[in-house]
Symmetry: C2
């Protein structure tokens, strides 16, 4: 059928509605009448009317005809532009980053720009999916999730020394959902949970939803400060510790084998369970120590996702845990999300199985290494100093020169359309007022540096 | 590149590993050597090795070469076949249905077979997505979710008399996740929640995860028994009531305007909030009364999803709620799942905007009407009697003749590879021991009726 003619008919109707020659609630010309006056076929008008129905512009009343819809969608005015008045809390960076419009720069966000991700592989994967079985397109996933993807995850974990057969791997809708399910399974309201200081801000937001107490341990370049770790365990008896081992967010630090061993010894001694969040695993050049590898999934639960190096749009994460816990976690998964997102799992499997994906990852790691070096140098030029030189990943954790706090700098930059990530959003103990996380992949153009530099010497009132 | 040759090389390597002429950990022939001996190009061998790496069969050590992986994936033996020993609880139907293998029939499940769903539309949608912007493929969704899909949902709700502008619509990962978020937002552990008896079994499983007390009200062909409803509200003071208005699961009943009005009056009087789960909306021939339409999203929150008439593989649901509640719910959504599944939302939008989708839905409703009639007749022949004749949907809620309970019948059928849905899985008060839900779209072949008939006169021991 001729698409141009269909669109022409749609446009005619839309104009008549906009020009009020067809009022809300009034009947459209009959299909035959419209075909005659417009000089197009009946089937063209039918298709045009159907599409207008699908758009909600027109309503169909079977046996009667087509009518102009009485409700038209209001503009999404409330969603335009950054909300400048939000408190700087664990939600601040995520809301500002996720709400950012196309002309906002977001060096504060925690993901790569689309053109750093494997777009070609994703497009190939989607084309392959368009030819997949009806089951893949339409049915719920199985309780644990797509078996070949779980097998592949098992093999990828084995490369890092983690032994987890596929029946100990559960697919989830995301890495965040993986941690959420584990909190539901492992902790009760009022329990105490241990976090790193600083740590990924959303851990705090998530734990708030679980109504637990949060305690924290300073994170050093080699892992948690082990003396403080020991005393916090003795004093507060946390049930759970949530941490990143390989590429720590936000510092970029790497856990050392010595600290890993001591953490596990203390966990054993105090009955602590550990969730090791490994979503930055693919950024590593050489696999570092993993708590789950040393521990054999005894006290450690290992989680991951594909949102950092594959796609954040096709959400998919996983949990690897001891066999005894699988059934209980799966029951919770079904109760709270029913079957998982099979389509996303199929797409992730397709991209990961693509022979070119390994090369893409190698290229990405090199690109990130270059960007860390270059962005680090430019930040130093304006007085912002990285606390350490991460071996991998997209983050630089930096000290801002003052006298403005990083929250003040972030607010000032937001007015100019740049989303930054002030340190205290990451700090359960609020010890990072002069620190800030930068995503080296999101800071390519010079306007961003100019805005940051300007923001260093301005401030919004009323802020710490 | 020649795919056949690449696969040939992969097959050669796989055979040598299987035949133990290449042992785990040993080095593969160099790319050049293998190209020479096999008579293929170097690039063919490189691609074959890369794909074997992606499969996890082979490991790459940069600068050194390719090695046989030391771990191979074990078989997923534990996942094969139904688990016959599970208790008949709210998880029974979902686990058995979701775990069912290809040669299992599942008249107990709650979804349509793939060939009843809009496969062609989904395939078109995926092809369109493969050409979409990098942002659609790779980025997180915005906090509320894809704006044009929310606008479309607003227009669809308007057809049912529900006024909810797009900034009062939140996309979620699924209908189940929508209810889960609302429970998190609205209730505390220890609160009391009211359900229909019978009701969708997963409401009970979900509420168990929220540690609340469940009370129930008998569901009549016109809605909840309003006398009992009034006395339960007075006695137990539930904070929340979760129900289906349009096509009630499992009974297929439709809420009447009179009962709707009285439910809302009593809710107002007792400070009750109502979650109206409308995931079967697209099955209706004529829109029935909605609590959210009468109430104007004051005490009622309306939720829906696309898993029943579009795809359960591309998970996507939504919440429509009063403006005051949107920010709090979105904060919880970000804390527990971060950005939403943008890819699924894009696909759903694409299929819904397709001019042919309305015709597909009309055809589906007719097909279901025929199937309800035919399956109902065949069930009556073997003594199974529908309690009412639903005006829409895929379910028949039936009395089994006895003396076996429906749980006994379901266990016996499971042994023969047929998953049924015994009544008490749906009944918070356990009053449905002689009832059973049948999905008329999943009961096409005669083997299923033979198995059911045989199961009526058999039983497994030890069952109620």
């Amino acid at each position: 059928m001729d698409t141009t003619r269909i669109e022409m008919v749609m446009e005619q109707i839309r104009r008549r509605i906009a020009g009020r020659s067809l009022l809300p609630g009034s009947k459209l010309p009959s299909v035959r009448a419209h075909a005659k006056t417009s000089g197009v076929s009946v089937s063209t008008v039918v298709e045009a009317y159907d599409r207008l129905v699908a758009e909600g512009v027109v309503l169909s009343r079977p046996g009667s005809g087509f009518y102009v819809a009485t409700q038209t969608a209001p503009l999404l005015l409330s969603e335009v532009g950054p909300k400048l008045d939000r408190a700087i809390d664990p939600f601040w960076v995520s809301r500002q980053s996720l709400e950012a419009t196309d002309n906002t720069e977001k060096p504060g966000c925690g993901w790569l720009p689309p053109d750093w991700l494997p777009e070609a592989g994703l497009r190939r994967g989607l084309r392959a999916l368009s030819r997949a079985s009806g089951i893949a397109l339409a049915e719920y996933g199985s309780p644990l999730g797509l078996p070949p993807l779980r097998q592949l995850i098992t093999r990828r974990m084995a490369e890092k020394g983690i032994e987890a057969p596929p029946d100990q791997v559960i697919l989830t809708e995301s890495g965040t959902q993986a941690i959420d399910l584990l909190c539901r399974y492992l902790i009760d309201p009022g329990d105490t949970v241990l976090l790193d200081d600083p740590c990924y801000f959303n851990f705090q937001a998530l734990l708030r939803a679980h109504r637990v107490q949060v305690v924290s341990v300073p994170y050093t370049p080699n892992g948690p400060d082990i003396e403080v770790f020991a005393s916090v365990l003795a004093e507060h008896r946390p049930r759970l510790y949530i941490t990143n081992s390989a590429v720590h967010n936000p510092t970029g630090a790497t856990l050392s084998p010595v600290i890993a061993h001591r953490v596990l010894m203390l966990a054993e001694q105090h009955g602590l369970t550990i969730v090791e969040d490994d979503i930055f695993a693919d950024f590593e050049h050489v696999p570092g120590p993993r708590l789950a590898a040393f521990d054999g999934l005894n006290r450690v639960i290992h989680i991951g996702s594909f949102s950092k190096t594959l796609s954040a749009s096709a959400r998919c994460g996983f949990i690897a845990a001891k066999k005894d816990w699988i059934d209980g976690i799966v029951d919770l998964k079904i109760a709270t999300t029913f079957g998982g997102g099979r389509l996303n799992a199929e797409l992730v499997l397709s991209v990961l199985s693509d022979g070119g994906h390994r090369k893409y990852l190698e290229g990405l790691r090199m690109r990130l290494a270059r960007a860390r070096h270059e962005v680090g140098a430019k930040l130093r030029e304006i007085g912002i100093v990285p606390l350490l030189e991460p071996q991998a990943g997209m983050f630089l954790w930096c000290r801002v020169p003052g006298p403005r706090s990083s929250a003040q700098v972030a607010r000032a930059a937001l007015v100019d359309g740049v989303v930054l990530a002030p340190g205290n959003a990451f700090s359960p103990a609020q010890t990072a007022g002069d620190l800030m996380r930068f995503n080296v992949s999101q800071i390519g153009n010079s306007r961003v540096f100019e805005t940051i530099q300007r923001s260093l010497s301005q401030s919004c009132s009323g802020d710490r």
